[in-house]
């Protein structure tokens, strides 16, 4: 195995996260259903943006990234145990 910079920093740690897709974004992922948690194992150092790319969701469709109930930016790093929810533009009231 070739060690890259991130792996040196983080060891070979893996992250376990839970992803939920909503309001049409689930259609980009095979067998996904809205609201049904998808359990994923990611390399340490994965950003929200990278996760979206790995899932195969065109990034222009993602408007909000909520991690543990808080808004996050695409470049933010994910942590072990994170609950991630992705949304297109939504509104109402």
């Amino acid at each position: 195995m070739v060690y890259n910079y991130h792996m040196l920093l983080n060891g070979v740690r893996r992250l376990h996260v839970e992803v939920r897709l909503y309001s049409g974004l689930e259609k980009f992922v095979q067998h996904a259903q809205y609201g049904k948690p998808i359990q994923l194992e990611l390399s340490a150092g994965t950003t929200a943006e990278k996760l979206i790319e790995q899932l195969g969701i065109p990034k222009e469709h993602v408007f909000s990234i909520l991690v543990n109930g808080n808004h996050r930016k695409g470049e933010d790093l994910l942590e072990d145990g994170d609950r991630i929810a992705l949304f297109p533009p939504v509104g109402g009231g």
Partner: protein, 572 residues
């Protein structure tokens, strides 16, 4: 334009010229101003001195997109303060098209049930005892058969006739469903107290209200439609899944009030979300999208068929929350059934949801028991003691059963965003003259939806200013007849508000500027606040219930913390 004055004591209806001071007002600005001018603030809301004022917005009845909202005002029997509730449906546009600026209903009939028949040149009060006690769906159907199928019907159900404090005033949509409620604050009880069951409006036209400069108006209206359609929420989010698309994002954000405001998340929220609703509605031959009034481009409503063929249109987010997570119910059929009964019997769904939450807290029926909730709500038709407690609203139910976890401000139930983790909305709930009202300054935009900037929802910084600006803007939008949802686009697109001003100037031949719109919003709030002060309200009424300051809300484990800062909201 004319004002129709209906005196229920003398049974006389008359047309009046519009006084000059009211010419530039419409919708909420007009209802609140007439109430402030004509209703003694100390009066009993169900006595002869209160008035019910109904007004289309300034742009209603024209081709301006999404401009058909109807304002209903009076002194609220629920809050004891001034109230404006507004609704979609067909009646705002009909009123504007027969030249009606406002209807003022005053006095009180000794006995009996009456309807008013209104055309461009005639306003007639008709005795209609045979209609007493009718549900709104049947009532609307009867009146359409009696007059003609195209009439608009503004009416109340049995709850309004029984003067229940949560009774709303409704009107019909394009299909004739009496489900378009000016629901909040008990204005249906005010209408009922006067002996008025319905107003039947005949108007053949929808978009032909007088416009001074038609070319200029058409260009501005087209531009405004483009602005709405290009906005990601107005043009994409709302037209796809409707308002209930919010269920999942509010849940994920941890601010979905669950089990009478005990938790911020409901693990079964997706079962009652917009996505689920679209699936079921379409499979049963209903509609995933639907316009609440002609000419709306956002089409955020829906038609949800129940298994027995009854159609509930719409099931909105606030209602799905009130009867769903708030009661720990995860069955959309139960939610839609409760919604339908409220529409028919004539009650505000948010208030009924909050009241059921308190009754469940008291152990009257268990949390999660949808069938028990339906049975209890059906008691409202009979006016049983428990049915009357339910119809009297959240605060009364709390007092009757000795519950302290009562989510109200100024005795009005708090809607679908917990103030501890959506603090901007907490500021609005606490301070709006309307009593807890999410639409009065919808800070969910910047707190959760990332529309009009971003203000961290679990922190205090910026929330007072956010709520203040939104309350001012909302008071102005509510006066135009535009749907509040246009605000999503107005907040993000700098051309939005100038285009609204352009439409107003083209229609009325005025030279308003964007600053005049802000001034109008401030004026509306000032008039409403002054009425409330005369009615006995003070700083202590501009606070949230104690438990929001003392109990942490999971998952963010935050409390509400703003007190004296709330007194700064109306320092414009």
């Amino acid at each position: 334009m004319k004002i129709v004055r209906l005196n229920m004591t003398t049974k006389q209806a008359s047309f009046e010229e519009v006084p000059e001071k009211y010419l530039a007002l419409g919708g909420r600005a007009l209802t609140s101003q007439i109430v402030a001018d004509e209703v003694p603030a100390e009066c009993h809301p169900l006595g002869p001195n209160n008035k019910l004022v109904i007004a289309p917005g300034l742009l209603s009845g024209t081709s301006a997109p999404s401009s058909g909202r109807l304002s209903v005002g009076g002194k609220s029997p629920l809050t004891g303060g001034i109230k404006e509730a507004n609704a979609g449906g067909v009646c705002s546009q009909k009123l504007a098209n027969i030249g009606i600026k406002a209807i003022v209903v005053e006095g009180k009939a000794d006995a009996g049930t009456y309807i008013m028949h209104l055309t461009a040149d005639k306003a007639e009060l008709i005795a209609a005892d045979e209609l007493a006690g009718k549900g709104t769906y049947e009532l609307t159907k009867i009146l359409k058969e009696r007059f003609n199928p195209k009439v608009g019907v503004i009416c109340i159900g049995p709850a309004g006739e029984m003067q229940m404090l949560s009774a709303g005033v409704t009107n019909n949509d394009l299909e004739g469903n009496s489900s378009r409620y000016a629901g909040r604050g008990g204005l249906g009880a005010v209408m009922g107290s006067k002996g008025l069951k319905a107003i039947v409006i005949e108007a053949d036209k929808t978009f032909d209200a007088p416009v001074q400069d038609k070319e200029r108006f058409r260009a501005a209206a087209k531009k405004f439609a483009d602005i709405l359609l290009k906005h990601p929420v107005c043009g994409e989010g709302l037209p796809t899944f409707g308002t209930n698309v919010l269920m999942n994002v509010i849940n994920e954000a941890g601010t979905l009030p669950t089990r009478n405001f005990r938790f911020g998340r409901f693990d079964k929220a997706a079962d009652v979300s917009g996505e689920k609703l679209a699936e079921v509605a379409v499979a049963r031959g209903g509609k995933q999208t639907h316009s609440c009034h002609p000419g709306c481009v956002m089409r955020c409503s829906n038609v949800y068929p129940l298994p027995d063929g009854i159609e509930c249109s719409p099931v909105e987010y606030e209602t799905a929350w009130a009867f769903g997570p708030n009661l720990e119910i995860n069955d959309l059929d139960v939610v839609a059934r409760l919604n339908y009964i409220c529409n028919d019997v004539g009650l505000d769904t948010i208030e009924v949801g909050c009241t059921l939450g308190v009754l469940m807290e008291a152990g009257v029926i268990p949390f999660g028991d949808g069938q028990a909730a339906i049975k209890l709500l059906e008691e409202v038709y009979q006016g049983t003691p428990l049915g009357r407690v339910l119809g009297a609203g959240t605060a009364v139910a709390g007092k009757v059963y000795g519950v302290t976890r009562v989510p109200t401000v100024k005795d009005q139930g708090i809607p679908a965003y917990d103030p501890r983790s959506c603090r901007g909305n907490g500021v609005t709930y606490a301070t709006t003259p309307q009593g807890a009202d999410h639409t009065a300054g919808y800070a969910v935009t910047a707190n959760i939806l990332k529309v009009g900037g971003f203000v961290e929802p679990t922190k205090d910084d910026g929330q007072v200013e956010l709520s203040r600006n939104l309350q001012v803007a909302t008071a102005a939008v509510d006066s135009t007849g535009l749907c509040l949802f246009v605000a999503f686009a107005l907040l993000d697109n700098p051309e939005g508000l100038p285009t609204v001003v352009e439409m107003l100037n083209a229609q009325y031949g005025t030279e308003l500027t964007v600053n005049d719109v802000t001034a109008l919003g401030q004026q509306v709030l000032t008039v409403e606040r002054e009425f409330n002060i005369k009615a006995g309200f003070g700083k202590a009424h501009d606070r949230l219930p104690e438990f929001f300051y003392e109990e942490e809300l999971a998952p963010h484990n935050t409390k509400f913390d703003l007190r004296e800062e709330l007194d700064e909201v109306f320092k414009f």
